[in-house]
Assembly symmetry: C2
Homo-oligomer: 536 residues x 2
């Protein structure tokens, strides 16, 4: 409970935040406002205001996991190479290594081994275990402050089931948990398909906050409403409807054959789609120009193939550009009708074939995966079924970037005046600011506060200019300010936080004092504050 | 809240713990009972029962720190070499290194830098900042399981003051916080002097649980009551009272002079005391025999001194053993009356000179240090005083081994039947066990439970033998068992936990049913359970 004055909270600013808050990045704003400090790139020290914020988020995450029957554990950060060798994940530049140990970036290996030791019979399944703690990733260029750090706080959950249908029920249960968590955080979010939508294949969703500054582009169908990450969405191409003109890019395969990719001019190729098709394996270390140059250097006696891959939008009537290299028809293979083009706003929806795709941007804050036996088989981890046979677990894994959420929520909710926390996560939800003009005693203020039980509030009865005290409270993002002044026993309530749907309350506020102010009797005050915070 | 059945708690044993619990080490017992798992030596995975236990301890620690005005922060585990170079602590084999970073073992450097950034004026001091989190130490031979791990959970606090008298007030405040914490944990403890008692010098206390299996030997004066670690206690030697016979040990100094230490035969020398005297610097890599052998090999023309150091208990009338080497009086220096002997039970107390020392063993669980400017000067960290001058902080640091506490509490409280938690930290405080003979409905049980609000309880209404369900609850260390059976609305209360002072309640219990059982009306049940737990 942060019931101290801002001026005595370690790191909280005593004066103004900065000259021009609008020019600060969100990470800079969180640093200026005393929420965090950065000792090195990608590392974070949590100060009291920031620690309270991340704890509030953790509590919401914990509550919904516990309600769904998930079990909380806390694994060692250090994990031995022997386990990671089995799953082929040790050779990874982004893992911090300390001798034979790594600092865990995720915990599939350790968690699977742990559950194997404790739930080795079908009678003890399903199990969903989760933890909230620090994870490590050796980002070569840590950027975006809290959004992508070398040390970060993550919630990672893992489900263990006896068979696929049970695993899919766990997967659905966890998606519901995620929905409930993001709903309670009260920041606009979407669940986006993160696989190619092949039914029965791998199932995976990304959870995004909507933000113009987000790193990811999302596409939503205006008819069926399905949202997908642009990296995974294929545009609908009506049969026989081909582009007028094609563009081509040159590549070398791993065998140094030349690969030509033809696609509608003006569009972009999504190489993940090409990989999914499993037709060729391209080298990623040569540009289109280098590929042409290298190919030309091969002698005539060196046998080289040319592989042509035509996007589904390229067909009869499409003008193809001339080849830039000599070739022989006998050495040429062509694949036609391959879906390679990335979708973009305005394309048709390949799922419902009815709607058009809209584009917007998001910040990824969570991910849910159905894993199947991808980890349990190499780790040979499983259970004894009802007939005494050993079987491998069907698994899922579920991540939320907890420290990332602090920055993402701040990013989405802040404005040019400062931070603006949703009530669910605000370190301080209510500032009770006593004006110099207040003639009563502090007993009446204490009486008022006693009815704010369960809320995170703070009383500022220091000397000082009322306007400055209010402004500081608002800049630091506190959702509600209560002013106790000369009008007492009438009190004034000001709102800084995001308003979702104040309903009748809002119309009252509007009628009385414009949207941001409300005057009520002190008896009604606590009830009004509770009601306001419940929708902020 | 662990309201699940034991049988569905991840890792909790469904059958018996082990054949002979008494033979298990406490770490083995915690593993068998499903509190923790050890993936590698010195590393710990916390399972739900263990995680709940350590969280309860953390909450007690947090509460008392917050009450005293300490501010909670949470620093990055990764800390850059540049800071540690300044304090000369980088060259340390026990620091895990990851490139230019170490995994922090303590946080004097980072915390000092952080406070420097946020409290750089005398107006913002004093500050006491603390954190609870994971620390790392590259123990070459991690032993004792949770007692000494490579990854462990620690509470570390740091105080920053403007001058020494203010720093000593912070030091005293923190000692009070420690007293309150250990009092609430309800395990017998002592505060032991951890320095040599020189007034005005470095101040430092160790906090120990009393345990026969403890690693440390403590000495307490039966008159003045002062407790000290044997490593730091000097025996009282009455003036003119010398030993009949002396023993001698041979050493080489850094300059390869020979050093002879004479002390009362049958006693041991505490080399820390010798170091404190600053007379000679001894090589630690040669034994007494090797020192003699090496000295004999020096030629006559090599100038070598002999330094004789006489313990304060060696004097006129003490029989000295013959020298084993040739010597020349002109090359011999003698220091007399140097206090070198380690104290032992039965010795006089050097502090009050009245009492005798008693010996017992302890497990160190906390440490409080007055640091002065040992860190602030090399880090050049400080504040601007009221006259505008830059000054260095006066500091203190204060540690509690949190994961160590889980093992230490278990060690002190367990018996041959299993674990036996104090109510303060028990993951489950009350097991409500419904017997097969109970004829009522579960509504009445729920009504009973509703009055246990604030307690960590669990209802076991499964099929199964009542005796086995009770035994399991007791083995896992749950302090109170409530049996709802055929006598309902009378209920039976059994006690597993440690009883401190049940007072009148205990005599009632004794009169009625012996010490471990109590039958009460269900209406009185919740009140009785609350009262029992408050002293367990």
């Amino acid at each position: 409970m942060l019931r101290r004055l801002y001026s005595t909270i370690l790191g909280a600013p005593t004066g103004k935040l900065a000259k021009n808050i609008a020019d600060l990045s969100t990470t800079e704003l969180l640093i200026k406002a005393g929420y965090v400090s950065q000792p090195s790139a990608g590392l974070t020290h949590w100060l009291p205001l920031g620690l309270s914020t991340i704890r509030n988020i953790e509590e919401i995450i914990r509550k919904h996991h516990d309600r769904a029957g998930c079990q909380e554990v806390s694994l060692s950060v250090m994990s031995h190479q022997s386990l990671w060798d089995k799953t082929g994940r040790w050779q990874n530049d982004e893992l911090f290594k300390v001798g034979d140990f790594c600092l865990a970036a995720t915990a599939e290996e350790e968690m699977t081994q742990l559950v194997q030791r404790t739930a080795d019979s079908y009678k003890k399944l399903p199990v969903i275990a989760y933890q909230i703690g620090r994870k490590y990733r050796n980002e070569k260029r840590p950027r975006g402050g809290l959004l992508r750090g070398r040390e970060f706080v993550m919630k990672d959950a893992y489900s263990f089931d006896v068979d696929q249908s049970s695993a899919l029920r766990s997967f659905e249960k966890m998606n519901q948990v995620y929905y409930d968590i993001f709903k309670e955080l009260n920041v606009p979010f979407v669940k986006a398909n993160a696989d190619s939508g092949a039914i029965g294949g791998d199932l995976s969703y990304e959870w995004h906050f909507l933000s113009e500054s987000g790193e990811d582009t999302l596409l939503e169908c205006d008819a069926c409403g399905v949202v997908g990450n642009v990296e995974r969405v294929r545009p609908h191409v009506a049969g026989g409807c081909f582009a007028d003109e094609a563009a081509v890019s040159y590549h070398l395969t791993r065998d140094n054959d030349l690969c030509l990719i033809y696609y509608p001019k003006g569009r972009t190729v999504n190489f993940k789609f090409l990989k999914d098709e499993d037709l060729v394996e391209l080298r990623t270390d040569v540009s289109s120009e280098e590929a042409v140059r290298t190919y030309r250097q091969f002698g005539d006696d060196e046998f080289r193939n040319i592989v042509r891959i035509m996007d589904v939008g390229v067909g009869p009537g499409t003008l193809l550009p001339d080849l830039e290299v000599a070739y022989s028809r006998s050495r040429m293979t062509t694949f036609e009708g391959v879906p390679l083009t990335a979708a973009q706003a305005g394309d048709g929806c390949a799922l419902c074939e009815a709607g058009k795709l809209q584009s917007f941007r998001g910040i990824e804050v969570g991910h849910t995966f159905y894993l199947g036996k991808r980890y349990s088989e190499p780790l040979d981890a499983g259970f004894v079924d009802s007939e005494g046979r050993k079987q491998h677990y069907e698994m899922g894994c579920y991540g939320i970037g907890v420290s990332r959420l602090v920055a993402a929520i701040a990013e989405v909710t802040r404005d040019a005046d400062g931070l603006r926390w949703p009530a669910s996560v605000a370190p301080i939800q209510v500032d009770i600011v006593v004006a110099g003009s207040y003639a009563g005693d502090l007993g009446a203020v204490e009486e008022f506060c006693a009815q704010l039980d369960g809320l995170r509030y703070r009383v500022d009865a220091t000397e000082g200019h009322l306007g400055e005290k209010l402004a500081r409270s608002k800049r630091l993002g506190t959702p509600v300010q209560v002013i106790i002044g000369k009008q007492f026993p009438k009190i004034e309530i000001e709102l800084r936080g995001l308003r979702r749907d104040l309903g009748k309350l809002e119309s009252e506020i509007r009628q009385q004092h414009g949207v941001d102010k409300l005057v009520v009797d002190v008896e009604k005050g606590p009830q009004t504050v509770h009601k306001l915070l419940s929708v902020m």
